[in-house]
Amino acid sequence: MPDDNVSSLTAKREAAVAAFADVPREPGAKKPDPILVADDVKRNFGGLLAVDVDHVEIQRGSITALIGPNGAGKTTFFNLLTGFDRPNSGSWSFNGRSLHGTPPFKVARAGMVRTFQLTKALSKLTVIENMRLGATRQRGESFWRAMLPFTWRSQEKDITERAEDLLARFKLDTKRDDFAGSLSGGQRKLLEMARALMVEPELVMLDEPMAGVNPALTQSLLEHVSNLREQGMTVLFVEHDMDMVRDIADWVVVMGQGKILSEGPPETVMSDPRVIDAYLGAHHDQSLAELEQEFESGALTAAAEAELSGDVAAAPSSEPQAPPSPTEDAPIDGGPADEKPAEETVAAERTGDTKDGR
């Protein structure tokens, strides 16, 4: 990557971070230039209030991470915002335009494009066809003109060029003519992200872009996501991998049991007692295998100790004399838990499966 690109990269990031300087570190904080504003969004699944968001704003031109334990309602919130699910109440607007009740395809056309937690590569289409499908306003997508190739051929050529550029950037150009179904899990994630970019969105919403991705690909995926901001897009992503959140997010929104628990820059949020509490609380939902794993890594003993101390919320900050042990914040941050990002994300995807199999 050329040098001037790198400097502009930091410039954009600095601008994004600077924009948050005066934003209070509290749930529902007002942002200077929000691209997305949601109010009082509720979604009930037979008595379970899966989403209960009072107010949230997403700052334009920033990378915002949406984190929270499994079952916090992150995916459901994505589904509601993008029209894939209907809320029981609430309203939200994108670029000042209300999107309540707008069907998914119109949401995408408005410039708000999402990917899915369970990757949706179109298996029997080739990689390049997957990409072409993403382009909007195609003349050849109307029935009558479809039968007259001369009406859409030149546009198809432009689309193909744009698709090939993106494929090259995502290092999928060698797979151009393979069926998408023959790609590895990580490559499918890349393809899905690249395909979403074909829509030329303003806001990109990524649901667990790292889940199930080979750790070798993680770094390049990270770069792709931060590149989106460089190109002027706004990113909202759900992620369990705290390293990724820390590396690229300008702002973090934490959800737990449907509610926004906390907001702030990554460093602040990750030491927020409410956040740690939310993650510790999540152990009830975890599988035995995961518990065992965390036991071995010492994370669970930390949780147990914290609980025993009877002061879970205050634990990390109120005991400055404690050695910087990996224990207290292990479940969300640092410590031995960090040594197993791959298993962690895979496990996260597995537990996500049952919930998202709509």
Binding site: T82, F84, P103, P104, F105, K106, A108, R109, V113, R114, T115, F116, K120, A121, L122, S123, K124, L125, E129, R132, L133, G134, T136, Q138, R139, G140, E141, S142, F143, A146, M147, P149, W152, E156, F179, G181, S182, E192, R195, A196, M198, V199
Partner: protein, 329 residues
């Protein structure tokens, strides 16, 4: 046994009217099921609507044949909208249930005593094909090698194969266009296609309408050939036969349905004649089967062939093996 004549007679079926009718019906199902993943189990209803369109307009209401064509096609469009509007937003199986029910409703209304004045009851309607045969440019039989086609048949074959060619060309053009790409995307995962800004509902509706109109053409060709519109021709087995043909030829391939229809009707005739010949010659003993059983036996053999095909060549004759392999992943 006269293998030469058995073969000749079978070859006639290869390009016969039955092959045309089922090719048209299967091309329609190919658009809906093969490319879009829509389970239309009511293709028989679309064919019946096409046939009734001409028959009712010409015979019952004594109006023009051309109006009958328009009404038959418009009827198929309306039927597709009626079936699609409530179901295409729901899961795939709803369309399957609704279409199979609709197909029986159309047939039962057609043969009902209550609607006899319009639809002619279970006997159906005759006497609407004269205008069609008046247009026949063929004035004498055609001899093609060992074959001889009478004028009437020749005219139906010419019109029918022209329709098959047009429909095949339309599918060919559509499926290499961005429009066809959206359809294939919907077949794979409609939520993904929605997330890319496509109005999935509208595309499914278009697919259902186009496939239904092709089904109506099938019904028109058949009833004009028969000179009669009989409701019981369009029972549910009409639809399933078209599906079998499509799967044999290769779903989601341009020529699959045509090839499938030709092969099936050729084999049907061939098996039937060969069995009759063998029975006549005493090769097959009476206690095993007599010549009345050949009709049933050829269906059994067709079933066996289909099963073998699905085991050894699940993609159909023209399909791409790699696509099936992806399903197993």
């Amino acid at each position: 046994m006269d293998w030469g004549s058995i073969f000749e007679l079978s070859l006639r079926e290869l390009i016969g009217v039955q092959a045309i009718v089922f090719a048209l019906a299967a091309i329609g199902i190919n658009v809906q099921f093969g490319y879009t993943g829509l389970l239309n189990f009511g293709q028989a209803a679309f064919a019946a609507v096409g046939g009734y369109g001409i028959a009712v307009i010409v015979t019952t209401y004594d109006m023009s044949f051309w109006l009958g064509l328009v009404v038959g096609i418009a009827g198929a469009v309306v039927l597709a909208l009626l079936l699609g509007i409530p179901t295409l937003r729901l899961r795939a199986d709803y369309l399957a249930i609704v279409t199979i029910a609709a197909s029986e409703i159309v047939r039962l209304v057609g043969r009902s005593a209550w609607g006899r004045d319009v639809f002619g009851g279970s006997d159906g309607i005759t006497g609407f094909s004269n205008d069609f045969y008046d247009l026949n440019p063929f004035s004498e039989p055609l001899e093609l090698g060992p074959f001889e086609f009478r004028e009437r048949v020749l005219w139906v074959l010419a019109v029918g194969w022209t329709l098959v060619a047009i429909c095949t060309l339309v599918v060919f053009l559509l499926m290499r266009s961005p429009w066809g790409r959206v359809l294939k995307g919907i077949r794979e995962d409609e939520d993904a296609v929605r997330s890319l800004g496509k109005n999935v509902y509208a595309y499914k509706m278009q697919s259902l309408v186009i496939g239904g109109v092709m089904g109506a053409l099938a019904g028109m060709v058949y009833s004009l050939f028969q000179g009669a519109m009989q409701p019981d021709v369009y029972a549910t087995n009409f639809t399933f036969f078209a599906y079998a043909i499509l799967i044999l030829g290769g779903a989601a391939t341009v020529f699959g349905p045509v090839l499938g229809a030709m092969i099936v009707w050729f084999s049907f005739q061939f098996i039937d004649l060969a069995l009759r010949g063998a029975i006549g010659q005493g090769y097959i003993p009476d206690w095993l089967m007599d010549s009345n059983d050949t009709g049933a036996v050829r269906f059994m053999l067709t079933g066996v062939v289909l099963i073998l095909l699905l085991v050894f060549r699940p993609q159909g004759i023209l399909g791409d093996r790699r696509e099936i392999a992806l399903d197993a992943r």
